[in-house]
């Protein structure tokens, strides 16, 4: 039987086991929306802005490991999605973005709502397609899902002219996909693995440094076995939190610009660095000239281009983290050698001395609400069980520092691109994927306003998010940098007019609570969590002067932190 292009798209989504599509209709995708209307297998979530659709699909993907799917129209629909696509690209999130396009005959004519979506998105996708024939739809979808979810994952855009969605052909979904030009490496090189294990076992001051790749590659279990077996200290990047439990004593917390003193000092002084699924981002390394001066570096990554990009490594291993960690663990089991116990004990002694600095201390008795206090209490009240999303800025760092993540895919934030406005829509995607879990969005009054319209989407679909708004009346991180590096010239970082967030939440049909005293923080959190089926917007009025510590200033090395 012949199907229309639009019907074929639905069949492809069904074949890929897609349960939710996040989208917004428009002229070029009307045939596709009509096909949505006639079926119930794939549910469509109607957002209020295309940026919200991409972030929601992203949050869905990060919390499940399955690709998020987005459907938007041509022109402004596609350009509004760009920020969300770039966000997913920078953090290697599998995503399929279907963009409508003007009919084939009009392409290039400056037609109504026409943009070159393939051209605009080219630098921010893993791959993209313009479908030129209805017969290509099934193959392109199969390829798109294959490319988006394998190797180093990433977003894939499929641009479909309107006339193609009306044209008809037979539907045959390819069972397998082999591409001569795309074949990611899976297994690590055995010789390199042997070399790495030798170096790992000879280490006197080892550090394990892991990133988002361990979470994306579902290697958390293998990482735990590896780290436990060795007894070495481990630090995780912003994107990697949760792969190894924060509550374990081997965990030194996050590293980098706002990482812990013990993690950064450990990095600087280590003699063997075991980097797994991390990409030596500038927020992690600080000044490259001063980075890990004494270390032999082993780097495991599925993307060869990530290896020796910023930092020359001594033992590169290209492969999937699960495969390589399994090989490491097998090798460690089979060898008679054990770690150098006395050296490691001495190393832990040194690390614990750094730890005793208590670099995350702050005034816990303050009557004015400290942002750190809110996160700490949030952790206590939820017992660390929530899925936490965040926006970008000080609150993001506080959440990363003070909410201890023990499990992967429970901490969702925009690390690479640093997209304000990400948190709430991402939480929507996570909540849809995990209807029975507590999903909390830690945000600030500046970030939340960038996608505030999605409060209506939450209402429409009954998504009971708990929004923790750390409201300090300014762009906290901008203010902090202006205080430190611009002689307190607070240029445009303070918004003189803010909405009443309690009333705003109520206007959208949600519950709003304003909290102004530290003593009210815990009762408010408890009240919000008790309202299981309602979205609660908690507007915490926090100390404007609070800064994120510790901090590595730009250009400094990891051993040159500013402590409180």
């Amino acid at each position: 039987m012949e199907l229309t292009g639009a019907e074929i798209i639905i069949e492809c989504l069904k074949a890929e086991d897609v349960d939710y599509v996040f989208g917004y209709p428009g002229g070029a995708v009307l045939h596709i929306y009509d096909a949505f209307f006639k079926q119930e297998d794939v549910k469509h979530i109607l957002v209020r802005h295309e940026q919200g659709a991409t972030h929601a699909a992203d949050g869905y993907a990060r919390s499940t490991g399955k690709p998020g799917v987005v459907l938007v129209t041509s022109g402004p629909g596609a350009t509004n999605a760009v920020t969300g696509i770039a966000t997913a690209y920078m953090d290697s999130i599998p995503m399929i973005v279907i963009t409508g396009q003007v009919p084939k005959a009009l392409i290039g004519n400056d037609a109504f709502q026409e943009v070159d979506s393939v051209g605009i998105t080219r630098p921010i996708v893993k791959h993209n397609f313009l479908i030129e024939d209805v017969k290509d739809i099934a193959r392109v979808f199969k390829q798109a899902f294959f490319v988006a979810t394998t190797g180093r994952p990433g977003p894939v855009v499929i641009d479909i002219p309107k006339d193609i969605t009306a044209a008809k052909t037979e539907f045959n979904y390819p069972k397998e996909m082999v591409m001569r030009s795309y074949n990611p490496t899976v297994k690590g090189h055995p010789g390199q693995i042997k070399r790495a294990v030798d170096i790992i076992l000879s280490a006197e001051r080892p550090m394990i440094y892991t990133g988002g790749g361990v979470i994306l590659g579902n290697g958390s279990e293998q990482l735990r076995v590896f780290t436990k077996k060795l007894g070495y200290p481990i630090t995780q990047t912003l994107m990697g939190l949760g792969a190894f439990p924060a509550s374990d004593k081997q965990s030194l917390g996050m590293l980098g610009m706002h990482g812990t003193y013990e993690a950064n000092m450990g990095m600087h002084n280590c003699d063997v660095l075991i980097a797994i699924g991390a990409r030596f981002d500038d927020r992690v390394t600080g000044n490259l000239e001063k980075f890990c001066p004494y270390a032999t570096i082993i780097h495991v990554d599925v993307d060869p281009a990530s290896i020796s990009k910023n930092v020359r490594v001594d033992v590169p291993i290209v492969g999937e983290v699960v495969q390589v960690l399994n090989d490491f663990n097998k090798a460690l089991e089979q060898t008679d050698r054990t770690p150098n116990a006395s050296a490691i004990e001495k190393w832990w002694h040194q690390i614990n001395e750094w730890r005793s600095q208590d670099c995350l201390k702050y005034d816990r008795d303050s009557e004015t609400i400290k942002p750190q206090f809110v996160i700490e209490k949030m952790y206590e009240v939820t017992k660390g069980s929530a899925i936490v999303t965040s926006d970008v800025g000080q609150h993001q760092m506080f959440a990363a520092q003070y909410y201890g993540f023990d499990e992967p895919r429970r901490w969702i934030n925009s690390g690479g691109l640093g997209t304000m406005g990400f948190g709430m829509p991402a939480a929507m995607g996570a909540q849809l994927a995990h209807p029975d879990d507590l999903v909390m969005c830690v945000t600030g009054e500046s970030s939340i306003q960038m996608c505030i319209q999605e409060l209506a989407t939450c209402r429409q679909y009954g998504l009971p998010l708990k929004i923790v708004n750390l409201n300090n009346g300014c762009m906290g991180m901008v203010r902090q940098w202006q205080e430190f590096f611009y002689d307190k010239r607070y240029s445009n970082s303070h918004m003189d007019v803010q909405p009443d967030f309690k009333m705003l939440a109520e206007a959208y049909g949600h519950v709003g609570i304003r909290i102004e005293k530290s003593s009210d923080v815990v009762p408010a959190l408890e009240e919000a969590i008790a309202l299981k089926d309602r979205l609660v917007f908690l507007d915490f009025i926090t100390d404007q002067q609070e800064n994120v510590y510790p901090m590595i200033p730009a250009g400094a090395g990891l051993n040159e932190m500013i402590l409180v």
């Binding site: 630098p123 893993k126 993307d303």
Partner: protein, 162 residues
């Protein structure tokens, strides 16, 4: 250092702009770039000349490999290879210049492929340096137009990019 990178890529619309876009987005340098379909019409062969430190060229090859449309790549400068470039050049050919140009054409083993009362159009192939030398040799003649193909490269011996 200068590197000549041979790339086999899917002959699909947009493949060229993916390569060109990669170079501009990552601030890599392109000295020349030629591309055309091969005997297999689903594949294009590109020769790209770039320069940079070893670290940069390593990243360039890795990033090129990452492009989904790229099937295979090879840095020709790592081993013995042949470089060729085609140049078409139109010069003023009047009075004594007519003979002088013919002599130079002979010396450089070029060919005159079009003649008018006042001009010659010359075809010449060789490596970049030979073409530069030919232009230099014509310095006393009025040059109207120079068209160069950019470099083509292939490995010596039985090594094949496929």
């Amino acid at each position: 250092m200068r590197h000549i990178i041979s790339i086999l890529l899917e002959n699909e619309s947009g493949a060229l702009s993916r390569v060109a876009g990669l170079f501009s987005a990552r601030a890599y340098n392109i000295e020349s770039l030629t591309v055309a379909p091969t005997d297999d019409s689903t594949l294009s062969r590109m020769t790209l000349v770039t320069s940079g430190t070893d670290d940069i060229v390593e990243q360039i090859t890795k990033q090129l490999n990452k492009l989904i449309d790229v099937v295979k790549i090879h840095d020709l400068t790592e081993e013995a290879h042949i470089e060729r470039e085609l140049m078409l050049i139109k010069v003023q050919a009047t009075h004594e210049a007519r003979d002088e140009v013919k002599r130079l054409v002979e010396i450089f083993r070029a060919r005159i492929i079009d003649v008018t009362d006042t001009t010659y159009t010359i075809e010449i192939t060789g490596n970049g340096a030979k073409l530069d030398a030919f232009v230099e040799a014509l310095s006393s003649i009025t040059i109207h137009e120079v068209v160069r193909s950019g470099l083509l490269g292939i490995s010596r011996g039985d090594r094949v990019l496929s």
